[in-house]
């Protein structure tokens, strides 16, 4: 069975699922380490800042950010595809969502990457 053409939604569907799974894993790690779940407490600048300044944690947070942005905005895009019937409006909204995603990605990145404890 050959799969000759590019998808009409294959990659959006695939990455929605992959980012969904990743988000659950990342959230568990985030709560376990940052929020000391299930005991709780310890979310102070002194406790959190040195960790946020490490390269590992920066990569973790950026992955978190990319997954959350893709998952959330792709979800909105799916709703838009269902309920906005004008092709022109859909195109505008698509680019608006891409721009929003890019802005939020840059905002997140400039918060995470240069952080020093």
């Amino acid at each position: 069975m050959k799969f000759p053409r590019t998808s009409g939604g294959f990659y959006a569907w695939l990455f929605q699922r992959l980012t969904g799974i990743l988000l659950v894993i990342l959230l568990i790690i985030h709560f376990a380490i940052t929020h000391n779940f299930p005991k709780g407490g310890g979310v102070t600048y002194a406790a959190v800042a040195p960790r946020l300044a490490t390269a590992t944690w920066k990569v973790f947070d950026l992955t978190f950010l990319v997954c959350a942005l893709f998952h959330g905005l792709n979800g909105v895009w799916m709703v838009v595809q269902d309920y906005v019937h004008s092709e022109t409006a859909q195109t505008w909204i698509f680019y608006a969502l891409c721009t929003l995603g890019l802005i939020l990605l840059v905002l997140g990145a400039i918060t995470v990457i240069p952080f020093k404890a």
Partner: protein, 237 residues
């Protein structure tokens, strides 16, 4: 005998055009063992001959009498009145389709989606001389839960994604597509893929499961859609 009130959606294109239709009540005595179709027949033959609905086999095979009964899609000939558990029964045409008259809806968009996936065996290699195209019992088993569809449209009509996107192939056409794609004798993938692998095709389903709940034959269209997706995933990775 027990008395039931049937609240039936009525729409006469000559009188009700431009309106959303109306509801008419019929109070009738229902005999033990009657289905909703029996009750509709009684109303049509003895109370109000103007009531319109589709019916044919009365045995859950033709799929003609798909309608919404007490808010749930099913075929009227398989729905026992007593099993509904209410004395007031609401009967409406299938949602998501244009009403032609009373409980009769325009099924053309439904059939158009079905034709789009080419719902017939496509082969290019000739069959063994004077023989059938045989299947192993294992290959045949893959089609269970897919081939039994009677085209009543209860699934597609219950699908919120179809309500929102009338171009969506819908659970019925996608399940039919799976039925042929998974058939070991079929060679028509290339001809079907354009319709299936489309933004109005297999990726549009939001796995809401309404189709599974609605199917009077207890088929699982959502599972068939997932099987199609899995095939595409395996084919690409």
């Amino acid at each position: 005998m027990a008395e039931y009130i049937f609240r039936i959606f009525r729409y006469d294109p000559e009188k009700d055009e431009g309106t959303k239709g109306r509801v008419q009540e019929y109070k009738i005595e229902v005999e033990k063992g009657w289905t909703v179709l029996d009750a509709l027949n009684y109303i049509k033959w003895h109370v109000d001959g103007s009531l319109s609905y589709r019916r044919a086999c009365r045995h859950g095979i033709c799929g003609s009498c798909g309608m919404t009964i007490n808010g749930k899609n099913t075929i009227a000939c398989e729905q026992q009145v007593a099993d509904l558990g209410t004395q007031v029964i609401t009967v409406e045409p299938l949602r998501g389709f244009r009403v032609i008259k009373d409980l009769i809806v325009d099924m053309e968009p439904f059939y158009d989606k079905l034709y789009a996936i080419k719902p017939y065996l496509i082969t290019y290699t000739p069959p063994p001389t004077d023989k059938e195209r045989l299947q192993s019992p294992e290959d045949r088993k893959l089609l269970d839960g897919k081939y039994e569809c009677i085209l009543c449209a209860c699934c597609t009509s219950s699908c919120p994604t179809y309500w929102a996107d009338k171009e969506f192939l819908g659970p019925n056409a996608l399940m039919k597509a799976a039925r042929f794609v998974l058939d070991s004798r079929d060679e028509g993938w290339e001809e079907r893929v354009n319709a299936i692998d489309d933004k109005h095709g297999v990726w549009r389903c939001h796995t809401i499961f309404n189709c599974v709940e609605a199917c009077p034959k207890e088929l699982n269209a959502t599972r068939a859609i997932v099987e199609l997706r899995r095939l595409m995933l395996k084919g690409r990775l």
